[in-house]
Amino acid sequence: MSDFRPSGPERSVQLHGGAAIDGAPIAYIVVLAAVVAALSFIPFSVVLSSGGSFPMSQGVFGLVGWILGPWAGAVAAGIGTLLGVFFAPHTAGVWPLSIYGAITASFVAGCFSTEHGRAWWPIVWVWSVLSLGVYLGRAYALAAIPLSTVIWGSTVDWLSVLLLATPLRSQIVRWLRSPDLSKVALGLFIGTSLAYGISHCCVCAISYYLFNWPEAVWLLLIPIIPIEFLFRSLIGTVVGVGVLSGLRAIGLVKPRYAIY
């Protein structure tokens, strides 16, 4: 600050309502929902479990949560995916599950920070543990899939649930806030995978109930799923580094629960 010292009394700045959801201006939510909808057009691979292609938008669900915070992020990702269902049905898969997955991934990402006295992540963690239990329990106990196949086929799911409860979550927040863009990229890469991993096990708890895929498919998914996660993380990293560095540069007002 320069030598200037204000002579008036300092006032407490309070926000009196306004067009915002959980501290994120509606305009930001609209823009990011539009981005998610637009990225829904671009298919990246075949998702065998639900018989469609996974859209590029899945790579930015985490980013949306970090920019807008958990609730606004979930709203933006959910609306964007819902629009994508209509405009890009070729990537929609089982659309209610696609929307559920989008909402969950963005919400989880937004919960990484525990600032402002808010700690939603334990609730998310309990929910993901329950979902994981339903998913894997059904496969092992009811569908009689061998335990080793279940464990290898759900690596990203149980690993994400475990890591969410470790200090890695807070470390990702620190990386995302770092002025060093290589650390931001690392945070985006790992964070995107972690957030989508939680979302994946929540969605699979339902999709496995619906489709009950056989052991042959489990075996096929063992190499495919990590590759898909790798691509989601790469998308999140490439798009995220550009977006976050741009947002920092232009000094746009940050949503209250933004993590960057």
């Binding site: 008036g8 300092e10 006032r11 700045v13 009196h16 560095s245 007002v253």
Partner: protein
């Protein structure tokens, strides 16, 4: 005239009666800033007055506007000192929605505030949110659209309106809520001179007839001189002075020290006073001149020698357009048989009203659009057969908004982007990038994100990226829009440096008053056709032709014509300096 701000602002004490807005020791710091954007501002805005706000870029004008309806600090956060009361309401204790019923705000870019699908829906939006009864909304829509002369387009989409119409729609939407205070932040920066005049006329009418209090930020000194009751001059976040319009705009030295352009008529008489004219006060409006001139007995010098642009008739044509026609998909005919030749080494300025076809023409030159009929040649090659990369090597294009051409995360990446994609060697890319950054003075910020730079510097990044391609010609589309006087001169000085280095320069602009020091030739466009193609002196003095395309010549040109009216010497003077040089004061003993 450096007045005592505290005494001026303290003239009235009744915040609910005489004053619409009262600011007491207001300071504000943005969340990510290290310094305050507003510094100890104390100010009273009187009910029914028209207050103009001037100042260089970064002086705090827009922040002050946003503070008047609580957007600062309620939306931006940050630290706030002091108190602002609007009609008695503290802006920190009442929500923006309540303040917005008292303060109507029009931003510089109307597109940032137009959201509805039709003109009447746009006006209705705020009223619906305020739960105004349906019949009352209908009445108010008709009333405000009539006021801003948009009744005939009430069912049109705002996207289909011209820039001036969009600006008037934003004003109408603000007016519909019947605010006590109307705040307009650079509402005419994107408009042609007549469009700007219409906005000023509309606002002045609202102020005079309805008694609406108006706060208007503008760089348009001539229009402010005509409309404003008082002028506040901001500098580095401080209220440097506030006073009667004639006092503030008449203090040329103070304005120039703050990089604020005075009205050209004031600049001219300031120079005449320096040459010995006995003037105690300087005129700020053209209407004051006719009363002043007889007492001064100004006489033109016997043989004025005016600098003339070089004749380039022998130069090779660089861009040749033959009988170009172009219509947009909605059927709007943008170009109707345009033929034009731009020769190597020329500095050409293209002027015309909003929608005259200027930008369409240069987009055709850049192959961003294809003509419906007609041909374009770049040197001897048909544009249709030129590859995009070849064209980029020959003609550079700097769009109106530099942000539309910026997408990399560092200045260096941005400047080298095109080079990397058209196959230059690494050594050549590094050499050209470094050279271009050096020529634009950007070496020190090469690693910085381009969007973190001020707008003027972002324009330089785009120019550097264009120059790295070493084109033979550079086209600038409205390069001075949104710039203050210093920023505009800076960018035009860059174009001049390019021109002196042998480049062909084409500039599209509405800011005619800036061009006499730079341009050689003027192409006047109107309704998709070329109305005049002439050297700058002849073009700027073709007042009737300019008016046909809703342009008015710079005030200095009108003044020169008025001073020359009795002698009819046909002097084609363009600037205050030229007028002061070519008219001598015969009577120096009497003060006006």
């Amino acid at each position: 005239m450096h007045s005592d701000v505290s005494s001026q602002s303290g003239q009235r004490t009744d915040a609910h009666g005489e004053d619409v807005a009262v600011l007491e020791q207001v300071s504000y710091q943005y969340p990510t800033a290290s310094d305050c954007a507003l510094k100890d501002i104390s100010l009273r805005i009187r009910r029914g007055e028209f207050l103009g706000i001037v100042g260089a870029t970064g002086a705090g004008k827009s922040t002050l506007c946003m503070a008047l309806n609580g957007i600062v600090p309620q939306f931006y956060g940050g630290r706030f000192w002091g108190r602002i009361r609007i009609d008695g309401l503290d802006t920190l204790e009442h929500p923006i929605a309540s303040l917005a019923q008292r303060v109507g705000q029009v931003f510089e870019d109307p597109e940032t505030q137009l959201i509805a699908t039709s003109v009447e829906n746009e006006v209705a939006f705020a009223l619906e949110n305020q739960r105004v009864p349906r019949d009352e909304i209908r009445l108010r829509i008709a009333e405000v659209l009539d006021l801003v002369r948009l009744s005939h387009v009430r069912s049109k989409s705002p996207n289909a309106l011209s820039g001036g119409q969009k600006q008037r729609l934003a004003i109408a939407a603000a007016l519909a809520t019947r605010p006590r205070l109307l705040v307009l932040d650079e509402p005419t920066s994107q408009l042609d001179p007549v469009g700007a005049f219409e906005i000023f006329a509309t606002v002045r009418e609202l102020n005079r007839k309805l008694g609406m209090t108006v706060v208007l930020v503008s760089h348009a000194a001539e229009e402010l001189a005509e409309c404003a009751d008082r002028i506040a001059l901001l500098s580095d976040g401080r209220l440097l002075t506030i006073g009667a319009t004639s006092d503030v705009l008449g203090d040329v030295e103070m304005l120039l020290a703050q990089h604020v352009r005075p009205p050209q008529v004031t600049s001219t008489f300031h120079l005449l006073r320096q040459a010995g004219a006995p003037l105690s006060r300087l005129p700020t409006r053209m209407s004051e001149v006719s009363a002043l001139v007889p007492s001064l007995q100004l006489e033109p010098s016997a043989s004025p020698s005016l600098p003339q642009p070089p004749l380039r008739s022998g130069a090779r044509p660089l861009i040749t357009a033959e009988n170009l026609h172009y219509s947009y998909p909605d059927g709007t005919a943008a170009l109707k048989g345009v033929s034009l030749s731009i020769r190597e080494g020329e500095y050409v300025v293209i002027v015309g009203q909003n929608g005259a076809g200027k930008s369409t023409l240069v987009r055709l030159f850049m192959k961003l659009l294809s003509p419906k009929s007609g041909r374009i040649h770049v040197q001897d090659q048909d544009l249709a057969t030129l590859e995009g990369s070849d064209l980029a090597r020959r003609i550079g294009y700097v769009a109106q908004n530099p942000d539309h051409q910026i997408f990399c995360s560092s200045v260096e990446e941005e400047v080298s982007f095109a080079l990397r994609h058209i196959g230059y060697s690494t050594a050549e890319i590094e050499h050209r990038t470094a050279e271009s950054l050096r020529s634009m003075g950007l070496l020190s910020v090469r690693r910085v994100h381009p969007l973190s730079l001020p707008k003027g510097d972002r324009a330089r990044v785009v120019i550097a990226a264009v120059l790295a391609m070493q084109p033979e010609a550079v086209i600038f589309d409205e390069p001075t829009t949104g710039q203050d006087y210093r920023g505009a001169r800076y960018i035009l000085d860059l174009t001049q440096a390019l021109h002196r280095a042998g480049k062909t320069v084409v500039v599209i602009t509405h800011h005619l008053y800036l061009m006499p020091d730079y341009a050689e030739r003027v192409v006047v466009m109107g309704s998709g056709s070329i109305l005049l193609d002439a050297p700058i002196r002849q073009a700027f003095h073709s007042v009737d032709v300019l008016r046909r395309t809703f342009l008015s010549p710079p005030q200095a040109v009108l003044l020169a014509r008025e001073l020359d009216a009795s002698k009819k010497l046909g002097l084609q003077l363009l600037t205050p300096a030229e007028i002061a040089r070519h008219f001598a004061v015969r009577r120096k003993e009497t003060a006006s």
